[in-house]
Subunit: 382 residues, 4 copies
């Protein structure tokens, strides 16, 4: 039995790897060691740990290492503290492979702790191009990783160009697509029964709504408030309901949150509702049934292309990212945003695309890890 | 005035960047912010801080972050603590550029603290191929760095293949060569006057000697004692004097040190002498005048090729590394080592080569950093 | 010039030592080194740093070390990280004396960093009896401290009984009283102009209001929500306006906040208003003009006795504490609370008492520190 | 079954609590959770973990947290890192009681982690008077502790005067005396067979020898070298063999070690031998059979009074400490030391005294912890 340790460090992480966790648990030759950490444990970020435990997973360790501050210094210190904590955890759990997901700063803590301890490291979603510190982190993690599960063919090719050995690279597709294939994506009574009570405006999922999810951009954290305000004001005159979600924990998060709070207090009579956190399944349903998505969540690039939801991506957080025909890009400018939203809603739903996988990523990853040669002696191909 | 912060984290680091520090100090448009840290401050590793201060440099900060343990877990924790400490230091000093050197685990602490704080990061000695965790760390740091100063043309080409933008990559040569060009390399009375008192055997630099410097290998730290013993015993019957230097601080360092101590206690009558640390200049002189070098120090690859000193590289720590014709590789095997040493001493000195630079790296780096556009928005070229 | 370093770690800390800071700055033989840290820097806790800077103070260092989690483990880890950070800060600033205030967990970080570095440590508000982990921390800090500024005669006597040398103990009174003596405590147009905009209900300071401020109790952090609910519901039928303040950062803070948020969402039409943070002066004014205070803030014990504001202290957070005749104690029970409030409002304002000082603490402390012999060789008196 | 977690942080700690560990393991109602940490794990300090495991104990966790530097800053940072690490360990192990021993800086890490997590804390060897930072730390730990096991009646009385509740204080005697009662204290062939090989001079335990053990003093760490040199030179002309042990890990340790190393290199022909570490039993035997002990080890105060070994205590590290008639105090002055040694050797062995216990401390502590009410709500008695 190979012990596969997965470190889940944010609600987005979990949404993405849920079916990888299930596939590892289900595999006869693998044992899952689930570690939850960072914002997964924090009330302010919706305590995704509750959803994880409701889904039947039993985390072996809960690791607190977020240094509060929501500036870049605190983010760096969190990474440092994460390394200190996780190296102790890995030393204790002695996994055969550690899996890390994507590119946030906490991901680096997992990558360094594992690779410095000579534990083979597997990386999900490497090789993508975005356009901020996340991209540097993502490629640096690639260089520390021994196995790679890119989400697209283009990403796989990029990893090979970067000198990774071909046998260590498998295009598994994005495991977030797995979730989309395993659930009912319609607005059903069951769905409605699961929706947690709303804070703020009354909201009716059976009527048209626009979904807003906009994170801070770590290269310009101080701009967060202005950035979100452009988006919020762009939609003021739209007849559809607006469902605004709170941002993630990155540097600048406070600025975005403040922008939302001030807007909310000033516009209590408008048809805006606000929500902190959904389980991945509920979120997918919400995403699927929106008439349009606005913001910079990477789910608008990935899941939305698989679902065909019209999307307006604002700003440069997803710049240069591989994407489907459902996406329009625009600047932080309320007029431009309003026009793009107008056009996307007029167009209506797009045809589904499988750029980011077919929904079998979990199985592919589990099978590979059950059979691959475990070797930390990686060589560049040039 | 651009503020250039250099973090020196080991005696080897300092030996390498001394003339970069001098060139930055001398440049009219640059201000040097010197931070010394980790083993530079520790008695056990020769407190290189003394040499640094004798050379006239004034460190702005002394940062302690080595978690003792000399195993991989302690090394990971040191990196975490280093990030915590250095992010505070950078926040205080507000440099325009941070320079990090080479590939040891502490180097990663500098790289993460700087890049997470959106401070442009320059990396000296990227792009090289070696063959252990250092290599992964080196390439990961490349991916976090905004400017690159590889030491050879081959390394430069590798960085370009990895997708770095050409204008961000300059083959400066290795700054360690600068030192070789600025000093007298002969055994002079001045040299002899500076030699600190020896612990152990009497030693005469004007007579033939073999230099031994062998570090632990981080992928097999528990092998350190056996590895050094093969080398020490291989030389027992050689008529030349042996000068053995203590290893660096890597995981496994204790094992190597113990190997040396036990050997020393058993062979007090042999012509072996032991030394902890020399200033870079004295070390270069020692290296230049050895009849042969044995071990795995990277100085045997770099400086020795510039100087033409015959060298026997033991084990896989330098495996795959670009090198001159002065180097012979062999296994951890006393017979094999003895044969290689025999052959190298018979051959005598080699012709000098400039693979690792011409001795102007400091100036090249300082000029580039004084003039380059400061931008953290790096793009991959594919 | 003696350098006196004061570490301010919470908004309450600042409210308490503001006039100590002023007295040190004003003293010809002292130089103030202000360090701000922990929740003072955090948006969620009202970023008291803004108030500090508006008051004209220039912090030399801003130190982030709160590990998020709001449970006991995170609190312990914050203390650990605080020691790591502050020992570096003290090493840099080289103060002659470090001042720490009161008894929160962060205070211990200051105390350990200073005393372990052999820097004389002065402690404000030692010797008091309360009744939870704070009390253990307070007495432990006494044992690490070299100079003591208790706020009452009773506390001074307790410090002497604990074996502290008499010349090291001065009853300065509580410096929070200094603020009360230096400001206008009435509801004036100037006061009203400074009140930040309210989130929530409209509020009129010229009409009667009850002030609610209730912190989590660290020995029963999980009870926080129920505890605050008893208080909030106890006041539902009172005709006066209610002004509810958010709790501090202690373990359990999240539970209390959630209790407030849920209550707020359910009772939007009631006359409750909510506020995060006031400057000390505005807070004192708010406290002075309340018809009654309800909760467990230590300001209800101290400042309120000096001001004569009727107070109902709920639960055991202030148990056993020395207090004036303006205080009634009761359990976490909405009926009991309601009855106590009824009685206190019927009684009306109390006569002022000077149990906690006469308002000259800042000067007394500054004079003492300017003249006292600096010695870390403390002896117990038995 | 109550789970009793003991954190052993130094070789001295272990020597002291070995029979407490045995008594807990043997008790039908208690379960031992052994955690080893800090210098116990480090090669430089003799890796006492080997002895612990040879004695049959199985540590549940090995915690690395010594930040290297051997100055006060590094010592403070180690404490901070220790708190971070140990709070995670306690959260995992969920002990009913944590035991901490004595007064070194690491002890504080255990005390804070446990008490901040609301875990009842028991302290062995509180209430003693010494005379440096250790004393402040010891009394501060008393104030954080819920149960106290002082080693003498005088210490017990001091704890009561400090306000500790009488039912929480038990004079158990020092558990180091237990070891003395359970072993053969003579120089036997079995003893000689267990002596590890010596580094340095040949040594004959059956002939007269003087034992030297002198630690750095944390209030004057920079004096360490001069202090040890006075002692070493004081003994140069004595006819007896000298057995010099290396100092512990405190700030200044490097200075003392350097003093010893330089002395050793200069006086290779003298009858001095050097040793790093003995198991507690072997050490006791060595102590018992010395003609005189010289230095500042607390074992010279405790064990030596029980054994009756003549002792010369140098400097102020043990100043004011309760002691037997076997002890003479003197300054760091080679002439004075030489005279005291002369007198003590002339006097010969002293009668045994039971000031520090009768050898039943382990059982007394285990019984108490098995039966005492577990309560963290401690009250001062005044």
């Amino acid at each position: 039995m190979r012990k596969i340790c997965v470190v889940v460090a944010s609600r987005a992480n979990y949404g993405r790897v849920k079916y990888v966790l299930k596939a590892i648990e289900a595999h006869p030759d693998l044992e899952l060691q689930l570690v939850v950490s960072a914002s997964v444990l924090l009330d302010r970020y919706g305590r995704a740990i509750r959803v994880i435990e409701q889904d039947g997973f039993k985390p072996l360790r809960k690791v607190y290492y977020v240094v509060e501050g929501e500036n870049l210094e605190a983010q760096a210190k969190s990474t440092g503290l994460g390394i200190i904590e996780l190296s102790g955890v890995f030393e204790d759990l002695k996994p055969d492979v550690v899996i890390t997901v994507a590119d946030r700063y906490e991901t680096m803590a997992t990558a360094i702790a594992a690779s410095y301890l000579n534990i083979p490291l597997a990386h999900i979603q490497g090789g993508e191009i975005t356009g901020n510190i996340d991209e540097l982190v993502r490629h640096a993690i690639t260089k520390l990783s021994h196995y790679h599960f890119p989400a697209t063919e283009e990403s796989k090719q990029r990893l090979l160009k970067m000198g990774e050995e071909p046998w260590r690279v498998v295009n598994s597709g994005c495991p977030a697509m797995d979730t989309l294939c395993h659930q009912n994506l319609d607005i059903t009574p069951e769905f409605l029964a699961q929706i947690p009570e709303f804070v703020g405006h009354e909201f009716d999922f059976t009527k048209p709504y626009i979904l807003v999810l906009q994170h801070p951009v770590t290269t310009t954290p101080e701009e967060g408030r202005r950035q979100i305000e452009e988006t919020l004001y762009a939609l003021v005159d739209r007849p559809e309901q607006k469902l605004v979600m709170w941002p993630n924990i990155d540097a600048g998060s406070d600025m975005v949150s403040r922008g939302i709070r001030v807007f909310r207090d000033k516009h209590q009579d408008c048809n805006y509702a606000y929500h902190k956190n959904f389980s991945p399944e509920i979120y997918n349903c919400v995403l699927n049934n929106a008439v349009c998505c606005v913001g910079n969540s990477s789910s608008f690039i990935r899941e939305a292309s698989f679902l065909g939801t019209p999307t307006v991506v604002v700003g440069d957080r997803q710049e240069g990212r591989e994407h489907g025909h459902n996406v329009t890009f625009c600047d932080y400018d309320r007029n431009q945003i309003a026009q793009c939203v107008e056009k996307q809603i007029a167009h209506g739903r797009y045809e589904k695309q499988e750029i980011f996988g077919t929904g079998r990523a979990g199985e592919i990853i589990a099978d590979y890890l059950a059979n691959v040669e475990l070797s930390i002696h990686k060589r560049m191909t040039y």
